[in-house]
Amino acid sequence: MTTETVKFRIYRYDPDKDAKPYMQDISVELDSTDRKLLDALTKLKVKDDTITFRRSCREGVCGSDAMNINGKNGLACLTDFRDLKQPIELRPLPGLPVVRDLIVDMTQFFKQYHSIKPYVINDTPPPERERLQSPEDREELNGLYECILCACCSTSCPSFWWNPDKFVGPAGLLAAYRFIADTRDTAINERLDNLEDPYRLFRCHTIMNCVDVCPKGLNPTKAIGKIKDLMVKRAV
């Protein structure tokens, strides 16, 4: 089997022993069967078991291994390391407190997600069978429900960096529209009220970083635009 040496520059910080973060230069031998950045990180961890990152499904559906890869947020498990310029520079997601190495504290991110009431609200008693929904109405949810909460989008958004406590951020707003767009949900007005605020929704300045980095190809900016349209419609 042919092997190649791949060079990395990795953000390291262990609050237990490091006074401040530093960049570590390290390389690893990879096989021709290795493909993804996560394969490389897994081998790096065999070499140095102190390198710390989250990972689980390794197929891009669990959202664990989001990180900043050569300056751009992405999932390690979906990124081909051969497409990357070396040394491959890995940093934690920007804008959130670093716990250790590539692991960030996502509390603020989830707090914003929870703030939009991410569940169907429908106070009418449910029927015996399923609530009916036409295929066309269901299609409205495509591009919204697939979010994996990896935080690539929100942590690439300057508005979220400046106001993580006030601006819901692209992931949370995508989720907000997912429920607004669901014909089974009866709380549209309440949801719009919840976002009618100079910060929560309107800090989105359509910079579109979120669209650029989403590993699932979703478009939070479009969803945010639709919420803004509904706000306008409601006002007139």
Binding site: V61, E130, L132, Q133, Y145, I148
Partner: protein, 571 residues
């Protein structure tokens, strides 16, 4: 998550411990669907679903639990829809259903549309819907906490768990009136697996160390269609939508192995057919080591709307756009049919009696509804039905308990702390990766799709050697902050319990049944397909203490309908 919801909505104080954020658990990766005889597209009946499940299990499933699951299915799937699950829809607005392997109408006649689907992201949609509903119910989540051991008192009653907060390495006791394990499977005992890194059988390891036997651990499902080389799952829903398996000659070989169900035969049957094709030289690729899953004949519109995730996986992990070229696939370890012995109320049962305060549901449990082979879509159903039923049992149990918690038994806590201490202090030890690789290679080589008498016997010796390595693992990371090296070492201590249980149970079962097929179990009129009902129609129970094996009878008596009588299995 389903159990937590039931408990929270009943007003109980519920703590969910998870070593990952809840939407990152491996349910998220389920693709094809969840079965329920809703009959939205064609006539269906829960008794047909029950028949298929019993047949799929090769009659090792308990018929009371199977009846309960299939009867409850329409109810729990409807509830899930009410929770907001974004199911695909039929033109009349009802839930979309697709055909799936082994699911037939009218007691095995022809494939039926029973798998309720949200595109090919059913598990993702379900896990998120359940998490979201739990947010609404104010369930308390302890995120990134790893449970270390079960706590039992002198009488064996379960008092809770001892757990470690990953961010700080702080060890804390969670004392509870009732404890439920929904810890998933342990597919990572094998070198090639569709399972996530986190699927390390933590609940099984904890149960085994606490003296609870593990049931039917020799039965592992090899999913027919893992992406060759990468192991990533390609759902059976692809074949449900019309996908065809082809060998190097381009032949639809399943017509020879399962003339009726063809590519939609049960998973064990399809996986064996694929390995047989490869072994007989009809594999594809330069190494003739895989077969092809062909959907190039499907309308690209169907692929884009019903199988978008599969297309993405295929492009990313196989480098193939399935609209244009077939996907290279190979059978890959996928699901553990065995687990912690439970009844259909979700109570953990040892020596015929429930263990007070202890419950299990989902892949870590063995009710047993899957027997020797699980049908596709029955796993998501399993966790809905038994998540709910176990929570209801917990509610009844908790109500009957005194308000005050009993005094905490400390022996298990001390043992657990000692285990972590040993790891922290180990010197001149074995690298975690070396021990884990040795285990995974041993399991893959000695206990795979086809099993051989001599290889199994040798496998038992080898896995006991690996266990010695696991007892001496050493980590160089000594940090107290998010020490993943330590977590991986602790996970390996759980995996090795599962690996031992699997190898030893498989070595002992000298018949072929469902997913367990061995060379020395001949196909005779008395033992068709190598299945020996006279001697082996029974559940295995492996105990960690002395690797002891015991057996218990299969329950052939359903709750309200007639027994589905033993029959030779063919598709």
């Amino acid at each position: 998550m389903r159990a937590a919801l039931q408990l929270s909505e009943a007003g109980l104080k519920t703590a969910v411990l998870s070593k990952v954020f809840p939407t990152r658990s491996h349910t998220v990766a389920a693709q094809g669907g969840v079965s329920a005889s809703l009959g939205n597209s064609e006539e269906d009946h829960w008794t047909w679903h029950m028949y298929d499940t019993v047949k799929g299990s090769d009659w090792l499933g308990d018929q009371d639990a199977i009846e309960f699951m299939c009867r409850e299915a329409p109810k729990v799937v409807t509830e899930l829809e009410h929770y907001g699950m974004p199911f695909d829809r039929n033109a009349d607005g009802t839930i979309y259903q697709r055909p799936f392997g082994g699911h037939m109408s009218n007691f095995g006649e022809k494939p039926v549309r029973r798998a309720c689907a949200a595109a090919d992201r059913t598990g993702h949609a379900m896990l998120h819907a359940l998490y979201q509903r739990n947010v609404r119910a104010n369930t308390h989540f302890f995120v990134e906490w790893m449970a270390l051991d079960l706590i039992r008192d002198a009488d064996g009653n379960v008092q809770g768990v001892i757990a470690m907060e990953m961010e700080t390495s702080e060890i804390v006791v969670f004392q509870a009136k009732a404890t439920l394990f929904a810890t998933g499977g342990a597919g990572r005992i094998y070198a090639s697996s569709t399972n996530a890194f986190i699927n390390t059988g933590d609940g099984l390891g904890m149960a085994a160390r606490a003296g609870i036997p593990l049931e039917d651990m020799e039965f592992w499902q090899f999913h027919p269609t893992g992406v060759a080389g990468a192991g990533v799952l390609i759902t059976e829903g692809v074949r449900g939508e019309g996908g065809i398996l082809r060998n190097s000659a381009g032949e639809r070989f399943m017509e020879r192995y399962a003339p009726n169900a063809k590519d939609l035969a049960s998973r064990d049957v399809v996986s064996r057919a694929m390995v047989t094709e490869i072994n007989e030289g009809r594999g594809c690729g330069p190494n003739k080591d895989h077969v092809l899953l062909d959907i190039t004949h499907l309308d690209p519109e169907v692929i884009m709307s019903k199988l978008p995730g599969i297309r993405e996986i295929s492009i990313k992990f196989a480098g193939v756009d399935p609209i244009k070229a077939p996907i290279p696939v190979v059978p890959t370890c996928h699901y553990q049919m065995g687990g912690i012995p439970t009844n259909y109320h979700g109570e953990v049962v040892v020596d015929g009696k429930p263990v007070n305060g202890f419950y299990a549901a989902g892949e870590c449990a063995c009710a047993s509804v899957h027997g020797a082979n699980r049908l596709g879509t029955n796993s998501l159903l399993d966790l809905l039905v038994f998540g709910k039923s176990s929570a209801n049992s917990m509610i009844d149990f908790i109500k009957a308990q005194p308000l005050e918690l009993p005094e905490l038994a400390t022996a298990d806590v001390e043992r657990s702390v000692a285990r972590v201490e040993r790891l922290n202090k180990q010197t001149n030890g074995v690298a975690v990766n070396d021990a884990r690789t040795a285990m995974q290679r041993t399991m893959q080589a000695h206990c795979g799709v086809f099993r051989f008498k001599d290889m199994l016997a040798e496998g038992v010796e080898k896995i006991l050697e690996v266990e010695k390595m696991v007892q001496q693992t050493e980590i160089s990371d000594k940090s107290s902050v998010f020490n993943m090296a330590r977590i991986e070492a602790l996970e390996l201590e759980n995996l090795i319990e599962v690996a031992k249980a699997t190898m030893i149970s498989a070595n002992a079962r000298t018949e072929s049944r469902g997913a367990h097929v061995r060379d020395d179990a001949p196909d005779t009129p008395e033992t068709p397909n190598g299945r020996d009902d006279a001697n082996w129609l029974k559940h295995t129970l492996w105990s960690r203490d002395g690797n002891r094996l015991q057996y218990k009878p299969v329950n052939l008596q359903p709750l309200t309908v007639d027994t589905i009588a033993l029959k030779t299995r063919s598709y």
